[in-house]
Symmetry: C2
């Protein structure tokens, strides 16, 4: 059951998507992050205006929210996305760990207007990294593993 | 066949991972992006020092590279990651579209030192979003679809 409260925040995310598109900042995507009834972060796609392929609405809003609350975790928060998150934003949301994620348009809707989320979801499903479209090359580097061992042994490290 | 050139750039990515860890900036992950033999972007994990859960080495390096070349696409570039990218960074790399991705440590190695990449990969494999650990709620919002329709109809838009 969707409440009026949830519709209210989703309308704000949709407003963000529209404002960003009309400003020419990037694609038509918006995001609002709330803790209780307080908006702690918001954003829209800024890929074009910032030349930053990672500046999707959710990433912009997560960075804004985390900066505002001084924490890299969003537990106790809810995220309202005008469109179902792409794999990059899905991963970012899982690292940030909000309590719930609401979305309106779907990845299929996004594909229909030319955004390739569905393609990237498909690439992730290919378990063998060698079979993916962007070639991935595994290099055996003992030096890299050595850094991981040092991390394990490091005293007083912040676990996260 | 891995060349000395490729090993050289991977060593630099590993150096980034070590420097970031020792500075307390975040986990032991580094990334270097090159175009030909020129380094155009680099970064290490800065989740802890910037309170930004999206500040993985690859994201930091992609943003650095794109800012340096003034483009949101990395075609013609190669990316050297000290560890196999997590789903967030995998998505970011697919949006940036470099020619090749090299990695040293694997997501299994990362899981062994406490980084949950494998868990997020698993969550993405769950096709039904309702069955995932962070609850996702679909809201039917004609207003959101209307913004997508406006995008399609918008003249002179930058397609990307």
């Amino acid at each position: 059951m969707i409440t009026d409260r949830e519709k209210h925040f989703m309308y704000l995310a949709i407003e963000e998507s529209k404002a960003g598109m009309e400003a020419g900042d990037g694609g038509p995507f918006g995001c609002v992050i709330v803790r209780g009834d307080e908006i702690i972060g918001r954003g829209h796609n800024r890929v074009l205006c910032s030349n930053d392929p990672t500046a999707h609405a959710e990433i912009v809003a997560i960075r804004d929210a985390c900066a505002n609350i001084g924490n890299f975790q969003l537990s106790g928060c809810e995220v309202f996305c005008s469109c179902e998150p792409c794999p990059m934003c899905f991963g970012a949301l899982y690292w940030a760990r909000p309590d719930r994620i609401f979305f309106a348009n779907t990845k299929r809707d996004a594909a229909e207007i030319g955004f390739d989320d569905a393609f990237i979801y498909g690439q992730l499903e290919i378990g063998d990294y060698k079979a993916r479209q962007i070639p991935m090359v595994k290099m055996d580097m003992p030096e890299a593993l050595m850094v991981f061992k040092k991390w394990i042994e490091m005293p007083n490290k912040n676990l996260y």
